[in-house]
Structure formats: C-alpha cells, structure tokens
Symmetry: C2
Subunit: 218 residues, 2 copies
C-alpha cells in the first residue's frame, strides 16, 4: 500500500473511487441524485474528470450496473457449486439473491433492468472508435451484457440440475421472469401483502415447488 506514483495506479484508483461514489449516490437517491459533479467531488476530483474514464453519465451508470451483475453472478456461482446445498435450496437462494438486490438497493436494481437505449451502430461516425478507445476493448454496455448473461448461465445450470436439461430453459425463463416481477412489484409498492394474502417468501416457495414437481414427473 505504497503511495501512488505511477500514472496507471493513480488512474485506476480514481476510476475505482468514481465507481464507488456513483454506486453510493445511486443507492441514496437514484439515478437523478448521481451527479457527475458530486461523484467527482466524492472521488476527490472535479466535474470534468469522469469524462476521462467514461463517455458520460450513462456510461458511468452502466459500469456500475456491470459490476453489480458480476457480483450477483459470483453469488449465484457460489450457490451452484456449494455441495452442502440441495438443488431446490440452490434455486431458492438464487431467486432470493436477485430479489434481495431489489429490496436492499432498489435504485441499483432499476438500473440493472433499465431499457437498452443504444441500438447498435446507426451513427457511423468515428464515435465508435473513440468509445472503444475509452472503455477498453469494447464499450461498457457490452461488458454489462456479458456480466448479466453470465448470471443467467449460472442460474440456468441450477435450474437444469433440478428440472432436467429438456425443460430447463423454459422453466428457467419462467422462474427468472417471475422473480424479477416479484422484485419489481414489491419495489414499486404494488405488491400489498395484506391485499394479496401472501408474502414474497411464499411466492418464491411456490415457484420452487412448481419446478421441483415438474422436474420429478419428467
């Protein structure tokens, strides 16, 4: 932990600080609250500095989302490879992992599932080359997509171990979308447990039981 001297170290530290500050502000007040000026201030730099690491605010938020996807992917991977857990426990854990993000970091969760705005190409300028240059081999959204896809693959493996390879994809999609819906409706306040006479845990249990039964009878 020596004093930073090399330029690469300094830049990496700044990028790290920017991401941390952005994530913190996102948790506190949503995307509106994550101001490039405030992000820079918390990272010890000024307003324009983030543009040396990200193409703009959107790119910064996408990078935060990418890191979160990687974290969730690691979490589900750990569940899948844990020999102490049964197949249904792994599935329940994976679903809960996603839902818990929605509970504990609702603003981040919305960024994770935010609308893909960038249709590929279309603007044939030299912009693409610049963006590639700034954000590494390829743009940030591609990184986020890969991280999200890794999570989905880990999740798919868990489902396959429970419901068989045949129906894994169909049931996997059903389970994943359902969990996402549970998280989203609870997050938006539209899941009144008094009105529906049920809880998030009950819903998750029902989902797990459904696919478990279906897997057995295949």
């Amino acid at each position: 932990m020596g004093v930073m001297t090399t330029r690469a170290e300094s830049a990496a530290a700044t990028r790290r600080a920017l991401l941390d500050a952005a994530a913190e502000l996102l948790d506190l007040g949503g995307p509106e609250a994550v101001t490039l000026r405030e992000v820079g201030a918390r990272a010890g730099v000024t307003r324009g500095a983030p543009y040396r690491h990200f193409t703009g605010k959107d790119s910064l938020l996408t990078a935060v989302a990418a890191e979160s996807w990687e974290r969730i992917g690691d979490q589900v991977h750990a569940l899948r490879t844990d020999p102490a857990l049964s197949a249904s426990e792994k599935l329940r854990g994976a679903l809960r992992a996603l839902i818990d993000v929605g509970r504990n970091q609702p603003h981040l969760y919305q960024v994770l599932f935010r609308r893909r705005a960038n249709l590929p190409g279309q603007l044939g300028d030299g912009m693409d080359r610049i963006r590639r240059q700034l954000c590494g081999p390829e743009g940030d959204p591609a990184v986020a997509d890969r991280a999200a896809e890794r999570f989905q693959d880990e999740f798919l493996d868990i489902v396959a171990a429970l419901a068989g390879e045949r129906n894994a994809r169909h049931y996997g999609a059903l389970l994943l979308t359902s969990a996402h819906g549970i998280a989203g409706m609870e997050l938006s306040g539209h899941l009144d447990t008094d009105k529906w006479h049920t809880t998030v845990d009950e819903l998750v249990d029902t989902l797990v039981r459904m696919v478990t039964d279906a897997g057995e009878m295949t």
Copy 2:
C-alpha cells in the same frame, strides 16, 4: 363543439392538452424527454402554465400514469364481463393486456411501476394543503394508486373465477408478478428468446395452464 368561452372549459381543455402532450413525449423519448417547456408548447401554452394544473413534473407524470391505469382497468373489466370469453381466455387476455402496454409503450410502462418516492407527511409544512387544493380532494399519487388498485381488483376477480376463491389471492399475486416480470425483462432486453428457447406467448400459456390445472384439482 363551440368556441371555448367559459373559464372552466378553457382550463379543462388546457389540462387535457397538457396530459396528451406529456403522454406523447413520454412514449417518444421517456421521462427525460417530457419537458415542461415542450409539453407547454405542444399544449399551446408556455413553460410555467403547467404549474397551474400540477405541482410539478412529477405530478404531471403521475397523472399520466393514473389515466393509463384507468384505461388498463377498463380494458380488463371489459374482458371480465365479456360473456363470449372462457375463464382462461379472460385470464390470458388480462395478462396480455399488461404485457402489451410494456411492448407498445415501454416508457409509460416504467412510469406505471416506478418507485413510490413520497412517504406520507414528513414535511409538515402547509405544502400538503396547497397540493390538496391544486389536485382536487387529494393528491395525484392517491388517484393513481386507486386506479392501479381497481385494475388489480378486476384481475383478482378473473383469477377467482378460474382458481376458486380460496387460492385466488395467492395465484393472483403469482400471475400478476410473473406477467410483470415477463414484460419487464422483455422491455429491458434481458429476455433473449433464442437463449431461453421460449417466447412470451409460451410463458403466458404456461402460467394460464398452471393455474387452470390447480383450480381443477381444488
């Protein structure tokens, strides 16, 4: 369709135009694109005029959401009371109604399920009285909540007719959250039909079949 003379008519027309313009801009470019200035311009007034009808941008978007909820509620009500449809067709139609909003008006859909920001009270100023005064008997969010709840009630009745009163609430919650999740994941681009070897229609069919079978064996 006489020329507007009375003040009430003029104000009502302006409010209507503001809502329409806001809805149009929302569809085109999302909440960021719905600018009070542009909304006013399209409604034939200037930037500050909307503040005579809504407390601010948030209030305007909430009012748009409320009208959309009422529309969806009417749609599901029509399905429920249509004697030409079977119970499962009604259910499928209701689920599709929600998902179709996500497909055709993705930005509006996100506003419908956006996070409730306003915790009640907290700011004990006279602001509450002013807001009540501006938006009628009570604030806009309450209107939106009531409209959303009416939709849920209509939906719940459809489920009850299919799965019985006993499990209606539990299955209703499962179906509604699942449909919301399907819409949300498709909207965010995380539902790759090639990857999951399934389509939205298949997922909806599976959901309907599930609750149909469960209702029969009860």
